[in-house]
């Protein structure tokens, strides 16, 4: 087994423990935002998509790279923005009140 693979396996195993430990006390009301937040984090596949797209020259690789980058960017951007929108609702009561009344005045309902 190569040294690099061994290192990677170490990171992999330790990350499993950290991933479990770090969210073990999440309250029910945060389940959905947390799911959405982790969803945004696996958008890191954009790094992989950029790596394969960067060197693309054959038509097949160009198409694969383009689609992969598009999908991964959608995942990252959409994931973080939608999580932020959800969590906006949980913010400090007074601030939320001001924001929502301001929003109501500026935009007609629905």
């Amino acid at each position: 087994m190569s040294n690099e693979l061994l290192n990677e396996l170490t990171f992999f195993v330790l990350s499993i423990f950290v991933g479990i430990e770090v969210i073990s006390k999440v309250p029910t009301i945060l389940h959905t935002p947390l799911m959405s937040g982790t969803n945004a984090i696996h958008g890191i596949i954009l790094v992989g998509a950029i790596v394969i797209a960067a060197g693309a020259s054959s038509p097949v690789n160009i198409i694969l790279g383009l689609v992969a980058v598009t999908l991964a960017t959608t995942n990252v951007v959409g994931g973080f923005v939608v999580t932020d929108r959800m969590l906006e609702m949980f913010k400090g009561r007074n601030q939320a009140q001001k924001q929502s009344t301001a929003a109501k005045e500026s935009t007609p309902a629905k």
Binding site: E8, I52, A72
Partner: protein, 461 residues
């Protein structure tokens, strides 16, 4: 690999871990999401100097980022709060699809006989990423009501799924041991897509949040596998973090519904018959309906009212009307609380989000364990567009698909007012005995209109 890049990846990994940590506490959640986003930017920027770009590469990256960022930001901003679960499913699916495509591109570059250590994670990423993509799309279709939310089952379904899984295993072995050629891994991808669809079809719409969470964990693992293929530390760590925390979260979610994960995923098999049998013999039972004036008076002269919100409230955007009613009642000295079932609406926390938007004081929102003993002292349980979460068959009908799910004890209140659009069964597709309870008054109509009428009726009482 460049030391600086590795260090940047390390910083990004720390950001992800801190972000997750904060996301799991109410105070820091929003901050946590931002920390994770910062980590993402660091990882992306650090990757760029490492690469040798072809002209075509630069162009497709630019186009892909612009299109993806537009779809992602516009989609996430425009979506209504009620439609957020399916939006998460969509964003998760595209991530899984991207992971599978990255693995395909890598396999293409390896030639016919790649080393096992490189080919194995690629194959894993193709299968899991494709299952996640296709499964998420079905989940999206179910929640968006592009297709029925009921479990779809047919005879021999498990056999078909078994054959699919076996065929996938066969192609995995073919790619690894015989020859890694486009025909074999494209077939693998197609089969995995079909399996993803077949996997989610038999699961009911009400269970979709759990399924999305599971597929989210899948995508994380697919990303980690792609990281092994590309020897990329950031992908391995971030993907694994999501895979591990997502798996635990999936378990916590099914626990909150009082069910095992296996029951959620495979419970539809053999249960549909029992469900329909239970409905038989209930024809001809009558329900009591009340006018707005009746119910307004009942509420106005109560001491304790517990509001049970559900998906109907979310659909009708009735959260502001609900708060208004609560305020009118409180002015008359009625004590009002909201009973929040962990899975009311279509995602855990859905009701908290909506009611918070309408500025309902946080202290009035009570979780199930806290509020369940209070129902017997309540004069009225006012059920607004909820159904399955108060269905007594979860307690006393072992054949019911929701049997065993903890429910709110709304049936113990002295009076029950059931606000609903129609007699149609709820999302799980089963009848609710509570509607036929002699203590129950039905009040049909759109939740927002009905609540507005009740506000007027209480004021007049």
């Amino acid at each position: 690999m460049n030391i600086l890049i590795e260090l940047a990846y390390l910083v990004a990994a720390v950001c992800f871990i801190l972000g997750l940590k904060q996301l799991s506490s109410p105070k820091g959640a929003r901050n946590g999401n931002r920390i994770a986003a910062v980590g993402m930017v660091i990882a992306l920027v650090a990757t760029l100097p490492l690469l040798h770009f072809t002209p075509a590469g630069v162009i497709i990256i630019a186009i892909g980022v612009v299109i993806g960022a537009s779809i992602g930001s516009v989609g996430a901003r425009m979506v209504k709060m009620t439609a957020i679960p399916q939006m998460v499913a969509l964003f998760n699916g595209v991530g899984g699809g991207a992971a599978a495509l990255v693995a395909v591109a890598e396999l293409l570059s390896f030639g016919q006989h790649p080393a096992l250590a490189a080919a194995l994670p690629s194959v894993f990423s193709i299968v899991i990423g494709s299952v996640s993509f296709a499964g998420s799309m079905v989940a999206f279709a179910k929640l968006q009501e592009l297709m029925t939310g009921r479990p779809i089952t047919y005879p021999g379904q498990q056999i078909v799924n078994g054959i699919l899984a076996a065929a996938i295993l066969g192609f995995v072995i073919a790619v690894l041991a015989v020859a890694s050629i486009p025909f074999s891994f494209i077939s693998l991808m197609v089969l995995a897509l079909v399996l993803g669809v077949a996997f989610v079809l038999p699961i009911g719409g009400a269970d979709m949040p759990v399924v999305i969470s599971l597929l989210n964990a899948f995508t994380g693992l697919a990303v980690a596998a792609s990281g092994f293929t590309l020897n990329n530390f950031a992908l391995i760590v971030a993907g694994t973090l999501v895979g591990a925390s997502g798996s635990l979260l999936t378990k916590l979610m099914s626990d909150a519904m009082g069910r095992s994960l296996a029951n959620v995923l495979f419970g539809a098999f053999g249960q549909t018959q029992a469900g329909t049998a239970a409905v038989a013999g209930k024809e001809g039972r009558s329900v009591r309906t009340g006018s707005a004036e009746d119910i307004g008076t009942l509420l106005a002269y109560s001491q304790r009212v517990i509001i049970v919100p559900g998906y109907g409230l979310a659909v009708a955007q009735a959260q502001h009307a609900a708060r208004e009613l609560a305020e009118v009642l409180e002015k008359r000295g009625v004590e009002v609380t909201y009973a929040i079932h962990p899975v009311a609406g279509r995602m855990p926390g859905h009701m908290n989000v909506l009611l918070a938007e309408a500025n309902v004081p946080y202290e009035q929102l009570k979780e199930m364990d806290e509020v369940n003993d209070e129902f017997k002292n309540a004069d009225v349980a006012l059920i607004v567009g909820a159904n399955d979460v108060v269905n007594p068959s979860a307690r006393n009908a072992p054949g019911s698909p929701i049997y065993g799910m903890p429910i709110l004890n709304a049936d113990q209140a002295k009076n029950i007012v059931f606000m609903k659009r129609s007699m149609r069964p709820g999302f799980a597709g089963i009848d609710n005995d509570l509607m036929f309870d002699p203590k129950t008054l039905m009040f049909f109509g759109d939740a927002k209109d009905s609540l507005t009428k009740l506000v007027a009726a209480v004021k007049a009482a």
